[in-house]
Point group: C2
Chain length 331, copies 2
Amino acid sequence: MKSRQIQLTAYPKGEPGPDHFNLVEVDLPKPGDGQVLVANRWLSVDPYMRGRMSGMRTYVDPFPLNGPMEGGAVGEVIESRSDQLKKGDWVQSMNGWRDAYVSDAKGLQKIDTSILPPQAYLGIAGLTGMTAYVGLKRIIGLKEGETVWVSAGAGAVGSASIQFAKAMGAKVVATAGGADKVNYCKSIGADGAVDYKATDNLAKSVREAAGGGVDAYFENVGGSHWTAALEVLKPKGRIAACGMIQRYNDASAQPIPDNLTNIVAKSLKIEGFIVIDHMDLLGEFIQDLSGWMMAGKVTGEETVREGLGEMPNAFLGLFKGENLGKMLVKL
Amino acid sequence: MKSRQIQLTAYPKGEPGPDHFNLVEVDLPKPGDGQVLVANRWLSVDPYMRGRMSGMRTYVDPFPLNGPMEGGAVGEVIESRSDQLKKGDWVQSMNGWRDAYVSDAKGLQKIDTSILPPQAYLGIAGLTGMTAYVGLKRIIGLKEGETVWVSAGAGAVGSASIQFAKAMGAKVVATAGGADKVNYCKSIGADGAVDYKATDNLAKSVREAAGGGVDAYFENVGGSHWTAALEVLKPKGRIAACGMIQRYNDASAQPIPDNLTNIVAKSLKIEGFIVIDHMDLLGEFIQDLSGWMMAGKVTGEETVREGLGEMPNAFLGLFKGENLGKMLVKL
């Protein structure tokens, strides 16, 4: 059997162009014992992929030249020689940028498409959404009627957090940089939103937008936001500090909070977390999320292109602002 | 009936002396409905009392001149017209500096002298011990075999924390200022102790004393200790930040930690607390403590003087270092 895949022809310097990609037909082996043949139905393109096209090792290896690239994908099992997966099952994998593949079944994650559309697992039902859910549900322990401040509200985790917190019955104040992002936060449900670049007293602005102190703070930013959070949190307030480590590389250049004594004075609780440590919540998350999506409380906004050949354009479109929400390619 | 009490004759400037105190005999009324007559058996003297002798309002009113002073006391009910307390019951109160008093029963806390000696309730079984217990048990959630760093290890809360943590089966590293205090920490069970005044790299010294990183940090100090703690804590480490607010008055003059990103990088948990919010643990605390004391694992060290007339000397002795552990007067 044949499979088609997109390969990288050269490591681009500066902006990549269509010439750096090539659509190639390759032979697929027959599935062996314990293996399955999967036809991909949805492929993900993400900004982080640019890093793997640089030819230099960062925190993962670069993509190979003239070989298969990786990326998020969901597909359907069309042939199985495994006890764990049967024909018709849907699976999630990192075997993107191609229309089909053969793999050991144990390396694939089976997904439940009866409660969520399959492509949701590449966006709001993926690790991004799960990070927002873990932060609000387990780390903060958000309760109905409480007020939560979500920083970086227009970002991937932030925008999921705003919607989830509203679905949980909380009041949400978001912060983001710039008027467009502030408006976006409001459009997805934030009760109030503050442009942190347009205020010289972040704590005061958040307090005004919240109509008082906040019960919890979802930390995605660092620096001056910490100081403001320790200021604006009510007694027994909680901070969830999200494990987006790469954002913290230049933390030493940021302002340092000088009001840590508030941790004691107000009995605050601060907890850093990494989503991978909390995957036991996955089932509960998918259940809550599907309920919220069916009730129209949460929308995983998508921009969809069609056909494997559109992958390079979809990817390049990310850098031209062509997407609203998650950019996907449907096969 | 007559009662004898110590009264303050003048607000001392600088060091108080015996002349500032007067032993006076006063008339006690007969107990009315719902009231009890209590004979004090043990009285507490504490450094904080000096603040109430200044004549200026701090966080509580100053002691009156030529009137009854306050202080921790445990005594025995010798006459009762209350349903809540009967003759022979032991009670804890702030009606110290006197040998007997009449009070509404509802303002008194009954204590169980079958499991702990009554005077323990003025020391290790009082709020000081309870603070240590809440910090280790609930805030940190200390487990057997873990390593905990206790700061201010020679202080009231710190020395209780060292003993309780050892009784819980943990390894303990203490920090304190000066060789004498370091030796004291070791004498009550600390596996390692560091003189923070004698090191220019606190994190490194604690790590050496602990034989590696620590699982938890009991914060009583602030400033540079925070920075070192964020450095020396292992992944998933916990910090209990103890609500001794008065120590934090000059916090703005202390070094500010520049490594808060470790909270995220190591998934740390930090929680400030005030003991009064956790009094539901009191029963469990008294039970654990009595077991530990009977097993000889915890000793509430005491220095005992005898007779009401010794109260001024016992109090003045606090400032001359005449006590080891809790200073008490037995009546």
